[in-house]
Amino acid sequence: MLFNSIQFALFFLVVTIVFFLIPHRFRWIHLLIASCVFYCAFVPIYILILFFTILIDYIAGIYIEDAQGARRKLLLTISLVSNLGVLAFFKYYNFFIENVNALIQTLGLQVHEVPYLNILLPIGLSFHTFQAMSYVIEVYRGNQKAERHLGLYSLYVLFYPQLVAGPIERPQNVLHQFREEKKFDSSEAISGLQQMIWGLFKKVVVADQLAIYVNSIYNNWEVNTGFTLLFATYCFAFQIYCDFSGYSDIALGAARVMGYRLMTNFSLPYFSKSVTEFWRRWHISLSSWLKDYLYISLGGNRLGKWKTYRNLILTMLLGGLWHGASWNFVIWGFLNGIYLSIEKVFDINKIRASSLLFKCGQVFITFHLICLTWIFFRANTFKQAIGILGNMIQPLQFWNLRIQDTGIFAGMTFGFVILIIFEFFFFRKKGEAIFTMSSPTWSAAWLVGFTLLIVLFGVSDGDQFIYFQF
């Protein structure tokens, strides 16, 4: 059940209406059932995996809270190994086998190739695994009390708006909200709807239109010129941004209609003046997760300069691997780690730009550094990424932009211009407060205007969200 489907619109409507009609004490059951239905719309059987990890983490949380010393650590390890074991099996097993087989071939060993697993990756596995791990680690660190109510803990992992693509929530932010009695708040509901429609606009009008262009260029990269490939990479940068932040907006909005507040996941990342700042604004729930649970656990910046750089690169490398089992994601993470380390070496983030031109220059450079990493993210293989980079720097056949379909090109340009106008003039100044500060007239205009834009310009049979595969 995709957020950009009529099926979801009906599901959301029914779930929300029933939520406010039933007494508070039954709401967690209602939301839990709704979340299970939502998840089962993809591959039903995989919900058993979720139940398995939920049960382990729930029990581990209670025992960790009561335990002391080495036993406490052992329980944490059991929980983490269980979570990571499931993740490794479903997500990285075939990648591992692929590399083992390649090694066997390279060494010319006379042994049979190791067989691959013919299984589908459970949707959103990386997201809910990290969310579950976050709970256990927080209980271990003493920042969160163990949740004794199995239903509420299950809801923390399964809560449908953020189940398959985040934000990766912390227990301190969400668990207590499930205990609070939510009264219907008209202004919150309107704000939530506004945010949902904005997210849907970003997905179906901007991201999905850009996707048509990007796919046609990247899938035929061999016959496209340097400038076309560069332009398609810019388009991909905005495609992935609108795809993922659009999903987050719908998730945040859907939760908000019911009175729940989820963490902000994106904050105008392409206005960043450095890669460090970019990572404070892009996929905030993941980058803060990596910082809190990985970078700091590795020692952060407390062990000297070189170890700080090592920790940064290692964190981003694993962050890359979190996205997918492929060397391209590893390179993507590695490049980001290198950028962050270089910025640390030169203390880039302490430079205070005085002129507008200088700030624009910083934004321009940061955007291009990020675009370089997106080539590896988007390309299907390492060979393709290198081929694209090769074509980009070829002086012959550079200045020729392939537009493909003028109608689609005009549509995606139109969507992009609307996005930039709203982000620059509204969101840059007010952030998400724009959804709460508005008058009823403005809210109605927002809902009607963006709904019409979706009807007129949205791709009605668009792709699923890119981040669902992670």
Binding site: Q7, S186, V223, L447
Partner: protein, 312 residues
């Protein structure tokens, strides 16, 4: 709750009013548009005072390559770039409804589009006829479970086509548009380079089987023509440096056409030195430029004459 309900009702009413208003406005623009792929070409053909004797239908490889003036009889090029058979059949049903059937249709077939599992999404380019043409409405509704619900919005019929519609509408009212439907790709100095460049990406057919759905659309097309006494000649334009092995599906397609008594002129299989030896006649591997189009059109006119002589 009361405040929220009022807000939602008022917003929905405004949305409904704007949607109907835009639908009405775009309908009016659409009907007046006589140029471009967003319905303009179809409108132009359907409003011609006298239906041309012959009509060419097919995708970009007929759109940019078949010059109607090359034929002995009044001909119109009603081709639409990128459109599969479902679109051609849908368009034909509308021509039939409006009594605009020609005497002969030159249908460009793309064998690749009949092999493997193909998409039916091209029918979306005939959304304007949803609710007006039964066949098109049925095919559109069959695209997805909730497709019919989307047409609750009157403006949805222009989904993804608003900018093209406005551009074509302005072009129509600014110029006294008259055409035979052919659009030339003017030869340029870089044509040889782009053609050779496009050779870098040649994908073999990965599937061999004939797609039954596509065949059914073609069959429906041919049956409608037969019912209306319209003769059909199928043809396929050449491809530069083509050396694909004929797949099982293509052979089956040819055999079925033969069984139905439909002549098929396939330039993919003919060695045409004048085209194959000059990259300057091509825009890319699949498309001839205007210079190449002149050669193909003359050749097709000659071959069509031969076929007609043979059949009569």
């Amino acid at each position: 709750m009361r405040k929220f309900s009022i807000f939602i009702i008022v917003s929905l009413l405004i949305l409904f009013a704007f949607d109907r208003g835009l639908g009405y406005l775009f309908d009016s623009f659409y009907r007046q548009t006589k140029t471009g792929q967003t319905g303009g070409k179809i409108n132009y053909y359907l409003t011609l005072p006298k239906t041309p004797d012959w009509v060419v239908m097919g995708n970009s490889r007929a759109f940019y390559q078949i010059i109607p003036d090359s034929f002995a009889r009044p001909t119109y090029n009603l081709c639409h770039a990128g459109m599969h058979q479902i679109f051609q059949t849908g368009l034909l049903t509308q021509m039939e409804r409006e009594g605009k059937m020609p005497k002969l249709i030159l249908l460009h077939l793309e064998p690749e589009e009949f092999i493997g599992e193909q998409s039916n999404r091209d029918i979306q380019n005939l959304k304007f006829y949803h609710g007006k043409n039964e066949w098109i409405t049925r095919e559109l509704n069959a695209l997805s479970r909730y497709e019919q619900a989307k047409f609750f919005f009157a403006s949805y019929r222009y989904n993804g086509r608003v900018i093209s519609l406005l551009k074509n509408y302005l072009q129509t009212i600014r110029t006294n548009y008259a055409s035979n439907g052919y659009v030339a790709i003017e030869p340029s100095e870089t044509d040889s380079i782009t053609t050779i460049y496009s050779l870098q990406k040649i994908l073999p057919f990965t599937d061999e089987k004939l797609d039954q759905h596509q065949w059914e659309y073609l069959h429906e097309f041919l049956s409608t023509c037969r019912k209306n006494g319209v003769q059909v000649i199928c043809f396929t334009s050449p491809i530069y440096s083509y050396d694909q092995k004929k797949s099982e599906g293509v052979m089956e397609l040819e055999s079925r056409l033969k069984n139905m008594g439909i002549p098929y002129i396939n330039y993919l299989e003919k060695n045409i030195p004048v085209l194959q030896q000059r990259t300057s006649l091509w825009k890319d591997r699949h498309h001839l430029n205007h210079a190449g189009a002149q050669i193909e059109s003359r050749m097709l006119a000659h071959d069509v004459d031969s076929v007609l002589t043979l059949y009569h």
